[in-house]
């Protein structure tokens, strides 16, 4: 049976992208999990995998083509797999190709899959690989560091960050559990009491909050309530917020909720080049750290940069500009950067602050940028009410209104439980268009 592979969306707001590279040729057989094609947007590069087996019959859009509209057929596959019906009404493509985190049918392990060494040199590791490499480096450096999570061993966990770790470190340090209940979070915190450095992988932050809450309270408060007698060196990490097709707490962004807890550090990496450094710093930190990753960022590759991080609690300028400061972290930072690129084409230069860490929050870097641009916009995926943006705006205006050329603006996730329909999901999250429009209006004084 013949099926079309459609141009995928990488973010709900994506309209088109570039086919930067085909990993397969016409006539080639592919198995589920094989890399098919690399798709680029203005800010990021994504690898797309085959969902089922088949043979590439035709490549409809050659590598190098720009402006390929979402849902345009880009190739035809023949045979294999179960039939899947497409309807034009689906906003998200559901062909053979889809974003790898979307389809949770784990393909068999394929360690040599990324054998294109030249490719890696070109583009650097993906966000996922950077996290894995940082984890592996910390595990090599410190025998007290271990990974625990659902299926982190054989299946490498839902985010598949744990690839290869079982082989290198064995089951004693890559501890697979069937589920993360209250007891397992408690066990991890208790192990940290004893001086071990557990890294707990959660399948989705929003989903585990209820089971995590008692142990998290203990982890965050014990150092203080013991007056410094008992540190709790634990890292809890995993995807946070939106994940295609997930609803309610499964897609909830917990950044603002966690960032309110004294004694806890909260890290939200946005890029491959910072993710590894932030996770490494989190594991070395003597206290508890929450690392909020993002499903849609895992496959994103990025050219390696020399820029390190300044430590937990230090923001960085992801882009310099003169007209407006946009502050964001994690996935929202990619939205901000896409907006900044669009704005630049219209003569507005945005300075984009990658917060990287929400607690401690680097208010100084934001304030210094605003002192320079005179305008402030915050972007966050989570509910904005009493959120990250509110805190940043408050800290900036508390320094005085004199330098401000416009009233600060918050752009945030719609304060509703994440609904299911793709069209509604797209409406519930900040988009680059929304940011572009808001900033244009602010700068033009409209």
């Amino acid at each position: 049976m013949r099926r079309e592979i459609l141009m995928p969306t990488v973010t709900p707001s994506m309209k088109d992208g570039k086919i930067s590279r085909w990993h397969v040729a016409e006539g080639q057989a592919v198995a589920a999990g094989d890399l098919l094609v690399e798709v680029a947007t203005s800010t990021a590069t994504f690898e797309i995998e085959a969902e089922n087996e088949g043979r590439v019959e035709r490549i409809l859009v050659p590598a190098g083509t720009e402006g390929v509209k979402v849902n345009t057929p880009i190739a035809i596959l023949f045979g294999g797999g179960e039939a899947r019906t497409h309807t034009a009404a689906l906003a998200q493509p559901l062909g053979f190709a889809s974003l790898e985190p979307t389809m949770r049918r784990d393909p068999p392990p394929r360690p040599q899959r990324r054998s294109t060494a030249a490719r890696v040199e070109d583009q650097g590791p993906s966000y996922r690989e950077a996290l894995r490499d940082a984890l592996a480096a910390q595990m090599r450096a410190d025998p007290d560091v271990f990974l625990i999570g659902v299926d982190v061993a054989q299946n490498r966990g839902a985010p598949r960050v744990a690839q290869g770790l079982l082989d290198e470190f064995g089951p004693a340090r890559v501890v697979s559990v069937p589920t993360l209940d209250e007891a397992l979070f408690g066990i991890a915190v208790g192990a940290a009491f004893a001086g071990l450095k557990p890294v707990v992988e959660v399948p989705a932050w929003g989903r585990v909050m209820e089971a995590l809450a008692p142990a998290l309270a203990s982890a965050a408060q014990t150092f203080y309530l013991s007056n410094g007698r008992l540190p709790v060196p634990i890292v809890i990490r995993g995807p946070n917020g939106f994940s295609q097709g997930m609803t309610g707490e499964d897609a909830r962004c917990v950044a603002a909720t966690l960032a309110q807890i004294p004694g806890l550090k909260v890290v939200q990496p946005a890029t491959a080049s910072t993710a590894g450094a932030l996770l490494g710093a989190a594991i070395r930190d003597p206290g508890p750290v929450a690392v909020l990753e993002h499903e849609q960022l895992y496959p994103v590759r990025e050219a390696p940069t020399e820029a390190g991080i300044g430590g937990l609690g230090v923001a960085r300028l992801a882009r310099t500009g003169t007209d407006v400061t946009i502050a964001a972290a994690g996935h929202a930072l990619t939205v901000a950067l896409e907006a900044a690129n669009a704005l630049s084409r219209n003569g507005i230069e945005a300075e984009v602050v990658d917060l990287m860490c929400l607690r401690p929050l680097d208010r100084e870097t934001v304030a210094a940028s605003v002192a320079h641009t005179g305008r402030l916009v915050t972007v966050e995926d989570g509910w904005g009410d009493l959120g990250i943006g509110a805190e940043i705006v408050a800290s900036v205006v508390a320094r005085g209104l004199q330098g401000l050329r416009s009233a600060p603006l918050r752009i945030a996730g719609t304060p509703v439980p994440m609904p299911y329909a793709a069209e509604l999901q797209a409406l519930a999250l900040p988009t680059d268009e929304q940011v572009t429009r808001a900033v244009s209006a602010m700068v033009r004084g409209a």
Binding site: I187, V189, A191, P214, S218, S226, N227, P231
Partner: protein, 330 residues
């Protein structure tokens, strides 16, 4: 061994030396006098927070702690004082914590529940009922991970034993055969309830059964029986055979948290047979280990220690202002 009350051979298997009997009595009495004094300070409002006392549960605590090595981790629920004192923490620091003084074990930040002495392998005091169980299993997990042969003692109450997180912990502890003993203090605290030791209908000692964790109901009034059961469970864990649930049948004489509670007429009654401290004293006298005069001297020394701790706890300075923000992050 599940469910059957320990027989005489269990008691004889613990060869208590006279020194150990006296040490057990001294520690049990210290806990008793300390808790009585804490109850007074609570009534005087010198202790301004909750103050769960362990009067009546001294043998269950002391017997287990005597069987543990100094390197075996200990963790408790919110009822901390007895285990802290039995582990050797200075009573002055515990009492000063109860009065929220700078000299307290947590420098006045923790109160009755949040006291920690990691240098003595005492890992707190945890308020959320039953949370000590998974945290304790984490200590045992660390022992397994490092390959040391320590066994964690994990104390909690009969109320906590019914929490889902405790049963979840049993599941994980059984799967990994963690070196831990769950010591459940069943103080049969229902107001007005009468107690016939050894025949309290309860499923706690059986609660590990679905996970193949053995359990025992133990006469928690008799320190020797506690030691016998404790020795079996600790040895089993140290061998690598996994956890045990020990249900200590005890009797709580005082209201929860130092707060007088309504009773049906029986809860405040002191039953001499059910008083571990009186019972131990009578045994020492009967076996002529110590004379009445020697006992009185020991008791005076204990009382003086507690009185001095209470005096210091009332007069010590409050934490300074800058303590508020100190030690928030490691």
């Amino acid at each position: 061994m599940t469910g059957s009350p320990p027989g005489p051979t269990d008691v004889e298997s613990v060869l208590l030396s006279p020194e150990e009997d006296i040490a057990a009595y001294r520690t049990m009495l210290l806990i008793r006098r300390f808790e009585e004094k804490a109850g007074q300070l609570y009534a005087l409002q010198a202790i301004h927070g909750p103050c769960p006392l362990c009067i009546g549960q001294e043998a269950a605590i002391v017997g287990m702690m005597m069987e543990a090595r100094a390197t075996d981790p200990v963790i408790t629920g919110y009822r901390t004082h007895g285990a802290l004192l039995a582990r050797g923490v200075d009573p002055r620091r515990v009492m000063a914590e109860l009065t929220g003084r700078k000299t307290g074990l947590s420098s006045g930040k923790g109160g009755t529940v949040r006291m920690f002495a990691p240098e003595l392998r005492f890992y707190g005091g945890h308020g959320s009922a039953g949370l000590g169980a998974p945290l304790g299993a984490g200590l045992a997990f660390a022992a397994r991970y490092r390959g040391d042969d320590s066994v964690t003692l994990c104390f909690f109450g009969d109320g906590a034993a019914a929490r889902g997180r405790v049963l979840e912990t049993y599941k994980a502890a059984a799967r990994w055969a963690l070196p831990i003993v769950f010591v459940v203090d069943n103080n049969t605290a229902a107001p007005g309830a009468s107690i016939v030791l050894g025949s309290v209908p309860s499923a706690i000692s059986e609660s590990g059964k679905p996970f193949a964790i053995p359990g025992e109901q133990v006469d928690g009034i008799d320190v020797r029986r506690v030691r016998a059961a404790g020795r079996r469970a600790i040895e089993r864990a140290r061998r690598g055979d996994g956890p045990t649930v020990l249900e200590m049948l005890t009797y709580r004489y005082r209201g929860h948290g130092g707060i007088p509670e309504q009773t049906g007429g029986g809860a405040e009654r002191r039953l001499e047979d059910a008083d571990p401290v009186f019972k131990m004293r009578a045994r020492i006298l009967a076996s002529a280990l110590m004379s009445e005069r020697e006992l009185k001297a020991l008791e005076k020394a204990v009382r003086d220690t507690v009185v001095a701790a209470a005096q210091a706890a009332r007069t010590a300075p409050a934490p300074e202002r800058d303590a508020l923000l100190a030690s928030l992050e490691a």
